[in-house]
């Protein structure tokens, strides 16, 4: 179902703009229409777009404050009447100018400490890698004869480096080997200039501060202590910042809410135009909200409500109720119907459950899926989980029809058992296919009628011509199966209809003549094939019902072969998990395929744009 949206325009005095736009934001039911698509250029030239950056600066200061505290603001603008807040911008400015510098200074100090901690943590990592070297680094640094370098190099280049200096007075120790790099400790004769060779080799040196002395193990202990001191200092500063914030928490919240509302209003002002005294806005809204808007304007005689005719199609607002609402997610996966199309969601819901249940009919497996889907939906509120839960219920219902519980056919079947009625189920699937395709064509015809697309209605392969051809073909095939001969009437009329299709395609193909001849032929050929293949495609409904029983039979046979009852149980348990997980997924995909490919492509143009009402944004 779709909710019809109406376009409206309001002309209001500029001094009422904040009140009007706040109301629009509060309702969350208005999508602004660019005035360029309504007004003529001459009129537009007389209007201007108001400046919207007025509150940006102070808003970013508040956001900065929240960020430094490490909190996300959660304003509740709908419940607030800004005219009754008794807040002046001057007060807010004075407040933020007083609080922010204090918090900023503390925060800066904390960042400095964090940087120092980061540096010392890196030093510690380096020193940790050097633990195997039991030498006082200060002694080595001040040695008259040696120099040392510590750093890393790509694993591929270690041997090359060693090879290149093997005739020199150089000692290379591999102190740590990681996934991509090797850490090296290189000692060499002081006179030897090794820097350029090391750099060329891709060696990157890491140097420690000269303030460290002792062996790497001793430095490591020293650094660990220093890091603990830094951690506690950071913690103290953090607490101080939070204290500063909590002291003013109530004011910060109120002031931020005030600025937040004004900023959002002024952002929305960007989508309006105004003269010196009047503001013009235009938007799409629901019928209910339009009525409320009218009542609101009745009590505000300075504002005028007008209806308008934008030169674009209205956006789409899917409005399915209750159970069907959750299946909108399946429709959205494919696309959004345009406002003049039928919303297929209710049909999608019914067909999805019927197809899934038929392919995966089992009381036990269905209940597991239902528990899984609804259980997670209860926590996560994700529509797809609701769909899985519903599919589980459908499976259970079909399981009762088939008489199957966790693969065992231990309850009497209300309908028929698939494995005992293979031909019946395959034929039944085809009948469902014929019904689905016919229904899709009828929906297409309704869409064509709604949009007054006469040509499409009559000649499209999913229009009246297509439906006629399809049913003549279906009846002819049925007669062929009953009598053994194809009815002449069927052949002649199909031939005529194919001819009409070809002429239609030939006339309306945009290409050079020779290309049109060939292209039209292949188009018609593809259409004919698609009637046939799409109908046959529904055989999967029966095939998967058989497959479900067959897959369990395989696990059951394996379980019977095992003599140990524990092994038997494990095989059956794992088998059922695989059936629910793997086959459940495959059937889910197959169901989507039948909906999207066989059903949707015959009538659903996916040319809509979802209704996107104006909302407060953080």
């Amino acid at each position: 179902m779709q909710e019809k949206l109406s376009a409206f325009s309001i002309i209001a005095p500029v001094d009422e703009s904040e009140r009007l736009l706040k109301r629009i934001l509060d309702t969350e039911s208005v999508e602004m229409i660019p005035l360029e698509s309504i007004l003529e250029e001459e009129t537009l030239n007389l209007l201007r777009t108001p400046d919207h950056t007025f509150y940006d600066d102070i808003y970013s200061k508040f956001m900065n404050l929240y960020e430094m505290i490490g909190e996300t603001p959660s304003p509740e603008p709908q419940n607030v009447d800004i005219s009754k807040m008794n807040i002046s911008l001057k007060d807010v400015n004075a407040f933020i100018e007083k609080v922010l510098p204090v918090v900023e200074t503390l925060h800066r100090k904390m960042n400095d400490l964090k940087q120092e901690r980061e540096k010392k943590t890196k030093d510690l990592e380096i020193v940790e890698r050097l633990r195997m070297i039991d030498v006082n680094l200060k002694d080595l640094r001040e040695s008259e004869f040696f120099r040392y370098h510590f750093g890393n190099i790509g694993n591929d280049y270690v041997e090359r480096l060693k090879e290149s200096v093997k005739d020199e007075d150089v000692l290379i120790l591999e102190v740590a080997v990681e996934e991509e790099k090797t850490w090296l400790f290189v000692i060499h004769r002081k006179e030897l200039d090794l820097e350029s060779t090391l750099t060329t080799a891709g060696f990157v040196e890491y140097s420690l501060s000269e303030s460290y002395s002792g062996t790497p193990s001793e430095i490591s202990l020293q650094l660990e202590d220093e890091l603990k001191v830094l951690d506690s200092e950071i913690e103290i500063l953090n607490s101080t910042i939070r204290r500063e914030f909590y002291k003013n928490r109530r004011l910060v919240k109120n002031y931020f809410e005030y600025i937040y509302i004004l900023k959002n209003i002024h952002d929305l002002l960007q989508k309006t135009k105004s003269t010196e005294n009047f503001l013009v806005i235009s938007g799409w809204t629901t019928h209910q909200n339009l009525e409320e808007m009218k009542r609101f304007l009745e009590s505000n005689p300075r504002m005028v409500l007008l209806s308008c005719q934008p030169n674009t199609k209205p956006p789409t607002l899917l409005k399915n109720r209750g159970f069907f609402k959750h299946f909108e997610s399946i429709t959205r996966m494919f696309g959004i119907p345009s406002s003049d199309e039928i919303d297929p969601t209710p049909f999608v819901a019914i067909m999805f459950l019927a197809f899934f249940g038929m392919m995966f009919g089992d009381v036990g497996h269905g209940l597991v899926l239902a528990l899984f889907g609804f259980g997670l939906y209860w926590r996560l509120k994700n529509d797809l989980l609701y769909v899985i839960g519903s599919a589980g219920v459908s499976s259970s219902i079909f399981g009762m029809l088939y008489g199957s519980v966790f693969g065992y056919e231990i309850i009497p079947s209300i309908w028929k058992r698939p494995m005992e009625n293979i031909n019946y189920f395959l034929a039944f699937s085809i009948y469902i296919g014929i019904a689905t395709i016919t229904f899709a064509m009828i929906l297409n015809i309704v869409n064509n009628l709604k949009n007054r697309e006469k040509r499409e209605l009559l000649f499209n392969h999913n229009g009246i011509l297509g439906l006629l051809f399809y049913w003549i073909a279906v009846v002819s095939v049925l007669i062929f199966f009953m009598n053994g001969s194809f009815p002449r009437f069927g052949l002649i009329s199909m031939g005529v209809l194919v001819g009409v299709m070809y002429v239609y395609s030939f006339i309306f193909t945009e290409a050079p003549l020779s290309e049109r001849i060939v292209q039209a032929f292949f188009e018609v050929f593809e259409i004919l094939i698609s009637y046939f293949s799409n109908t046959l495609s529904f055989v999967r409904l029966g095939a998967f019902a058989l497959n479900h029983a067959g897959l369990f039979l395989a696990f059951y046979t394996m379980a019977k072969m095992a003599k140990n009852p524990v092994v038997t149980f494990v095989i059956l348990f794992l088998g059922n998990i695989i059936i629910i997980g793997l086959e459940g997924l495959v059937v889910f995909i197959q169901t989507l395929r039948l909906e999207f490919y066989e059903f949707f492509t015959r009538f659903f143009k996916d040319s809509g744009r979802e209704f996107n009402p104006e909302r407060y944004k953080l």
């Binding site: 790509g154 060779t197 990157v204």
Partner: protein, 346 residues
């Protein structure tokens, strides 16, 4: 017989490559416009030039079109490759991406941003880097921020730190080249299916590249032996490790040629005069490689060999075309120009 479909496809593509006659005609042209016109009228480049008004074409535009053609040829081969082999051919294309990245690094380093545009890059079909982000970098820091989120972080991490301290861009360029060779080596080691011929060709390429790099680093740039050794690809084909040590210790061209003549590639260098070496070294190395690639590509039994060899031969055709275009820029005669080509021999 292996991968005959691939073999047939590549041989069909190979049959359309430029002939000796084409090269002669191209060298005899008087301008870039005439080159473009000839390519449009008589060669397989026709499809890339069909919508181009060659009478107004600029040298750079023609080179860009030729780049597009070589990458497109590689792309056409993909569809005939088994999955196992495809990763190797991805690497062949990856080399063009590396060239793009190197080009951008050079420009950003030099600051001549007016030379930087997407049209000057190889138009790739498989990309691992968002080129528009690279192109939007205004300095090396910004460029690094983009690159460090890509697979090039690994080879460039250390090189970038060294670049920061030294300002020498060749650390970055060299690191990318080395990464290509090391990664290709891993891919080839991991693929056991009919890639022996490509592997041999690849190791020959490594030997040739190392010879050229040693010559440049030691005799032209006068680097220390230990520095020279650390510039090389840490892989070897037929050359011994000791030879690299000896070559990087030479002090003259004569000594370099003498050492080289004792290697399995010695016969190609025995008649080379010392004074000519700077001008002919690259061409000799290219011709050794081209010769091997041609032999590989003529293999009737293995489609992999045919395709692998073709990729190298095709690249030399591109290089020679670029050389011919350059000869017009410097107004070289036919006789002068032909000496610079790799694929052309009278």
């Amino acid at each position: 017989m292996k991968l005959m479909g691939l073999s047939a496809k590549v041989k069909a593509m190979k049959s359309k490559m430029l002939t000796k006659e084409d090269f002669k005609n191209l060298m005899k042209t008087n301008s870039v416009i005439e080159i473009a016109d000839y390519l449009k009228q008589h060669t397989h480049y026709q499809r890339f030039l069909k919508d181009v008004d060659v009478s107004k074409i600029h040298r750079r535009d023609l080179e860009i079109l030729l780049r597009g053609a070589i990458v497109h040829d590689l792309y056409r081969i993909y569809f005939y490759l088994p999955y196992d082999i495809r990763k190797i051919f991805f690497m062949f294309e990856k080399r063009f991406e590396i060239e793009n990245v190197k080009f951008i690094i050079r420009i950003v380093h030099s600051g001549y941003f007016e030379n930087l545009s997407e049209s000057k890059l190889y138009p790739l079909y498989h990309k691992s880097v968002d080129e528009s982000s690279l192109l939007s970098a205004k300095n090396m820091e910004e460029l690094w921020k983009v690159l460090e989120k890509t697979e090039y972080r690994v080879p460039l991490e250390n090189a970038y730190r060294n670049y920061q301290t030294s300002g020498k861009v060749y650390y970055l360029l060299n690191a990318l080249d080395l990464w290509y060779f090391l990664t290709m080596k891993r891919k080839l080691s991991g693929s056991s299916f009919c890639t022996e011929g490509i592997r041999d060709l690849f190791y020959l390429q490594i030997d040739m590249t190392n010879i050229e790099w040693i010559y440049r680093a030691r005799l032209l740039f006068k680097l220390q032996p230990s520095e020279v050794l650390n510039l090389l690809i840490p892989l070897r084909g037929l050359l011994e490790r000791q030879l690299f040590v000896e070559l990087s210790n030479v002090s003259s061209t004569e000594e370099f040629l003498k050492k080289l003549s004792q290697t399995p590639y010695g016969k190609f260098f025995k008649d080379v005069k010392e004074d000519d070496l700077p001008f002919v070294l690259e061409r000799i190395c290219d011709r050794i490689l081209l010769d091997k690639a041609r032999r590989l590509s003529n293999n009737l039994q293995n489609g992999c060999d045919v395709a692998g060899g073709y990729v190298y031969i095709r690249e030399y055709e591109y290089k020679d075309l670029v050389t011919i275009i350059e000869t017009k820029r410097y107004s070289l005669s036919f006789e002068e120009a032909k000496g610079y080509l790799v694929t052309f021999e009278e």
